[in-house]
Amino acid sequence: MSQFLQSIFSGVTVGATYALVALGFSIIYNASGVINFAQGEFIMLGGMIAAFLVAAGAPLALAVVAAVAAVAAIGVIVAKIAIAPARGADVTTLIIITIGVSMVLRGAVEATMGKGGHALPPFSGDKPIALAGATMLPQSVWVVATTLALVAGLALFFERTRLGKGILATAHNRLAAQLVGVDTRRVLTVSFCLSAALGAIGGVLIAPIANTSYDAGVMLGLKGFVAAAIGGLGSGVGAVAGGLALGLLESLTAGYLSSAYKDAAAFVIVLVILLVRPSGMFGASISSRV
């Protein structure tokens, strides 16, 4: 029982991170129809920049805020330099562009910070909290609580603010949104900024638990894509549910079946789900127009 609970705790922690990545995927997908293969790099950048600043002597809180702000700015630059000029290109072309962007970001970190691993100190100590026979790191509480707060904040943003509604309108019908005065180019920039910031927050939250390195973003990005696909691309609820489901599935696979096949579990489950429901658990069913 305590091992089961332990698996649940670690699953929820990792799952919350996946949920943040999946939300980032969904926001950009909604705003532009692009699957951003550089999403994982935003997580890596968050963790790496914060670790770099802490190593340089900055206080932890400042390093975290500065890292998230820097990555959000990088998100804006990516949208303006790489994505906006290629608007209207084929989906496959856009995928290749985001893969190119991910190489640029990964290569820049590799060239400046090297290939070694980096760690961030935990936000509030590393004394495990005992709970019903299992233990939980204080950092896990940070991960889960921050994710919950961000999800609530995003829900308010999309429902209550003019900008958030504009993004939703663009996702629904770009032309109609333009006709009623939504600046869809700004929507693209804002969505990249928001996704980059979400990724970076995920990155700084998880860095004290799992070491980060220049290539840590590749697998995290793929897992986030899996989580988004499980939940249904473009669905916010789906992204969070998909992320949590994936985290739990992985930690249970690692605990009870085989830790070597932990990473494969994610891809097996997404195949099964896509075959049963080709548009994910919460995705709207698609019908293409001719």
């Binding site: 072309t93 893969i99 060239a111 070597a260 494969a264 994610a266 997404v270």
Partner: protein, 327 residues
């Protein structure tokens, strides 16, 4: 009085049309025949061989991505499975390499058929996700089934020999891979110009429209998927014998991405574009080697710039520009 049917041009002009359509292929084959006499040493032969392998793989993948509009982000899995098929059947079970190649290709083709029947119902990003997932699962399995595959360290592969003739050395392998590339160009060209090829392009344009004029969409997609996967498996088998060593990296996600990149940079639905894209992307690491530590950065930047300025790929964008100048 006999009147020649106005619809059938005289034999001589048909032959001329055939020859002019095939002229680039003949010229390319001639260049491949001359090339060894100017390659100074084994290193250059090795580079030429790698370009030829990637070009053949890119052509096979382009049939799927460029001509039917179905993306595959897991195609390296078929290449890797072909390579491991030969490595295991020849190295562990002592099969003759020729038989191992044929059986591996057939097994991969059968696997691709099953996969295609199941996942080609998906579209767009969901198809990308599914093919990506299959590729990742294949490379994780190759990494973890240590007893059969040697695990992350890989396994060595015996030389290729057929009817007692042993193929060894870069120069001998050069002819095999050059022949495979020319065969791929000819076969893909024939397929694209056939009625089946027109059906494929119709699928890319609009699946629903193609279906409404009687194109059996799912049968065509399945056939192209199986063809493309089988070709990748054959190249994998040959590569395994040439390199003498296989690792799980052959089937991994980065290799799949590299193949898709070659197709898209060269130009979707362009056979010569695939050759060009494969050549550029295979040579880029050699050319960028002096930017030590900055290779990934430089490679990514070139990739983004190419796709922004030539969104349809190099070959189609350039030929469209030339045509505009002529008219």
């Amino acid at each position: 009085m006999t009147v020649a049917s106005p619809r059938t041009p005289p034999l001589s002009s048909r032959a001329a049309a055939w020859a002019s359509a095939r002229a680039p292929t003949f010229a390319f084959a001639a260049a491949l025949i001359v090339l060894p006499s100017i390659l100074p040493n084994a290193y250059y032969f090795d580079v030429a061989i790698r370009v030829a392998i990637n070009a053949t793989l890119a052509i096979a993948l382009n049939l799927l991505i460029g001509y039917t509009g179905q993306i595959s982000l897991g195609h390296a899995a078929f290449f890797g499975l072909g390579a491991y098929g030969s490595a295991i059947l020849v190295g562990e079970f002592g099969w003759p390499p020729g038989a191992a190649l044929v059986v591996s290709a057939a097994l991969v083709g059968a696997l691709a058929y099953v996969v295609a029947r199941v996942i080609l119902r998906l579209e767009g990003h969901y198809l990308a996700m599914a093919t990506l997932g299959l590729g990742v699962i294949a490379s994780i399995a190759l990494t973890n089934e240590v007893g059969l595959t040697g695990g992350p360290d890989g396994m060595s592969v015996p030389d290729f020999s057929i009817l007692g003739l042993r193929v060894a050395g870069e120069k001998a392998w050069y002819w095999i891979f050059a022949a495979a590339l020319v065969a791929a160009i000819v076969l893909a060209g024939n397929l694209v110009d056939s009625p089946a090829g027109r059906a494929l392009r119709a699928l890319h344009g609009s699946q629903t429209a193609a279906r409404s004029v009687g194109v059996d969409a799912s049968a065509f997609k399945t056939r192209v998927f199986v063809l493309s996967a089988t070709a990748a498996a054959i190249m994998g088998s040959l590569y395994a014998h040439y390199e003498g060593f296989v690792t799980p990296g052959l089937a991994a996600f980065p290799k799949s991405v590299q193949l898709v990149t070659m197709v898209v940079v060269g130009g979707m639905a362009s056979i010569w574009g695939s050759v060009l894209g494969a050549a550029l992307l295979s040579l880029a690491p050699e050319l960028l080697a002096r930017f030590e530590g900055y290779e990934t950065l430089a490679f990514g930047a070139i990739l983004v710039a190419t796709m922004i300025f030539l969104p349809r790929g190099i070959a189609p964008s350039l030929s469209a520009r030339l045509r505009r100048k002529e008219s």
